[in-house]
Symmetry: C2
Subunit: 369 residues, 2 copies
Amino acid sequence: MPVTLADLAKAAGVSISTVSRALSDSDHRVNERTRQSILRLAQDLSYRPNPLARGLRGDRTFTVGVILDNITSPFAPPIVRGIQDELKQASYSLTLTNSDWDSAVEVGSVNTFIAHSVDGIIFVDTWLHAGNEAPPPSEKPYIFVNRLFKGTDYNCIGVDDRYGARLATEHLVRLNHRRIAFINGPDGWEASTSRKAGYQDALTAYGLPFDGALVRRGAWEVRDGYRAAQALMALVDPPTAIFAGNDFMAIGAIYALQDAGQRVPDDVAVVGYDDREAASLVRPALTTVGLPCYEMGRAAARRFLSQSEGQDQPTMAEQVRGRLIVRESCGAMKIRSGEKEFWRRTTPRQLLYEAGRIKGMPRSRSSRR
Amino acid sequence: MPVTLADLAKAAGVSISTVSRALSDSDHRVNERTRQSILRLAQDLSYRPNPLARGLRGDRTFTVGVILDNITSPFAPPIVRGIQDELKQASYSLTLTNSDWDSAVEVGSVNTFIAHSVDGIIFVDTWLHAGNEAPPPSEKPYIFVNRLFKGTDYNCIGVDDRYGARLATEHLVRLNHRRIAFINGPDGWEASTSRKAGYQDALTAYGLPFDGALVRRGAWEVRDGYRAAQALMALVDPPTAIFAGNDFMAIGAIYALQDAGQRVPDDVAVVGYDDREAASLVRPALTTVGLPCYEMGRAAARRFLSQSEGQDQPTMAEQVRGRLIVRESCGAMKIRSGEKEFWRRTTPRQLLYEAGRIKGMPRSRSSRR
DNA sequence: GTGAAAGCGCTAACAT
DNA sequence: ATGTTAGCGCTTTCAC
């Protein structure tokens, strides 16, 4: 049987309310001696306050609800982990539901959470639910990860895809590529719009011309990247580098290139986006932009925490930035010269050899015919 | 403000307890007319019982706690999803913590869960914690997914790895391979032991000799599979097929084979285990044994549910079976002849062409030199 | 500085 | 068949 306040009170020979005050160290002053003895007693009997009773009584349950579309989707777990890591420090619990892109289910989950008196709800995912409507008003903080609403940017934590795409493209430019193709995602995706903008940002920044023929579109799948790359290489003036809007299309592009007898990265360089598990497994290992899922989760939880404490905390949108993960598919090698670091173009074997990474097992042999 | 039993009672002109009885439809008989009017009222005012109050009162909270090592590890999400899908039907909520392979953290989580009066705890993962001890006794059901204890198989839901490994090996045998190598995981892993046993089962079943030289060991990584395959191919009588203990090592083996100028699957066939995301992305796409994570999650939740209801429910170990996922790395093609189905050995191009899967994009060109 | 008591929403004896 | 009451563990007035 768990020990209660009443048990402590009896043991300490004081009233229940004194014990409560001693433990919740409110501003109510309690005799220092009795407080100490109560504290020790609580320790010894390993007292743990009953969160249900606390919650029933009123204000806080120290619980937050997380609604996501599917924990099984590739970006969800690190987001959840980020939320949880941040929350743990404030000793909140986390309860989870999957809504499967069904807004009716989602509403049901919200109601369940409210019934359970959660202190806030974090909505996770990139889908646009329920007709894209703005969130309902509420006193409890609602945080939205990777979600977009029309006409408001209330508490939205997103990715800075424009920045990420620029990073990828700049990497290629610095490796002396001048004709850089872009395989975009489908229309209607915020990610497509932002990533294309980032691609163009980089071109502009380096004074490179924008050539519409170098921009293709695909539905995020391997085969789309494959076809797009085929089309690109059939151009009279084909690109020497391809930036794909996600890793799957990048992998497809690599396969198309290889099937066409091109060496990656020697003949054409490829960059992806997302940093999926397969990125480090394919050959050549894919240079890509890592999505900051974990950081977004933390940011969301931090946002919740701050609004849960202070009243007038900011509720605007926030964008978190990913970083470039350089592997083999662009043939880049890191050079240190004094203070500076930069990437130099090289062949993958050279890269591996100079980096001392070749021993028994050469990881990349895509250059072999 | 949420509506309470008292609100309903006032509106219906009856006492609180009548309302409670009408709604919780216990065996206590309530006048059918009043029950109906109360039900309608509850509907109209959209009454939702307060789970905290219910929980405080005593018996059930309709909440289960899940402790896993890291939601970010590849097998955790489908397990969680399985648990949740099964639990949802019984309208339980799920709360989650990560223990990061730290048994102190784990104990903390258990205590938190108990404080929250969860109705049960599901432990998820394959690690052996806290010195491999048996679980503490408890009236609430504890379920263990993929976890092993010395001397007891209390409520353990595991994978039938022996069966899965046998499946993989048999596939190779039926494709007429006679010298089949096995790249095992490291010592001390239950998975290594079972998978090797399954490998041997298949050999025995088909009267094939066991050759110790064909069994290698690796630490689950790509490079281990790479090295093992190199060693295997250096044998005087090298294998024509390799079964790797997991997908990563299988991928490494494929790379080693390709680097050595062997065609996969034409010259040597490869099977993996796990069905990681990359399995379908590499070339050739990997034939592998899918881990039944989702099913294990469901089984665990079902077990919890049954023990949560009836008292004397079974608490023994349960093994769930995965299935073989045939892709390209063995060059197998499904043949239907009347009632029967079987796999025939073929080249990947042939496989794809006959299956009508080649259109614009040949997926596998590993046979090209 | 401390105790008594009310009440959060609900369920289950116990009455009627 | 229905109402009355106690109490789950806790916080928070309100007295003293």
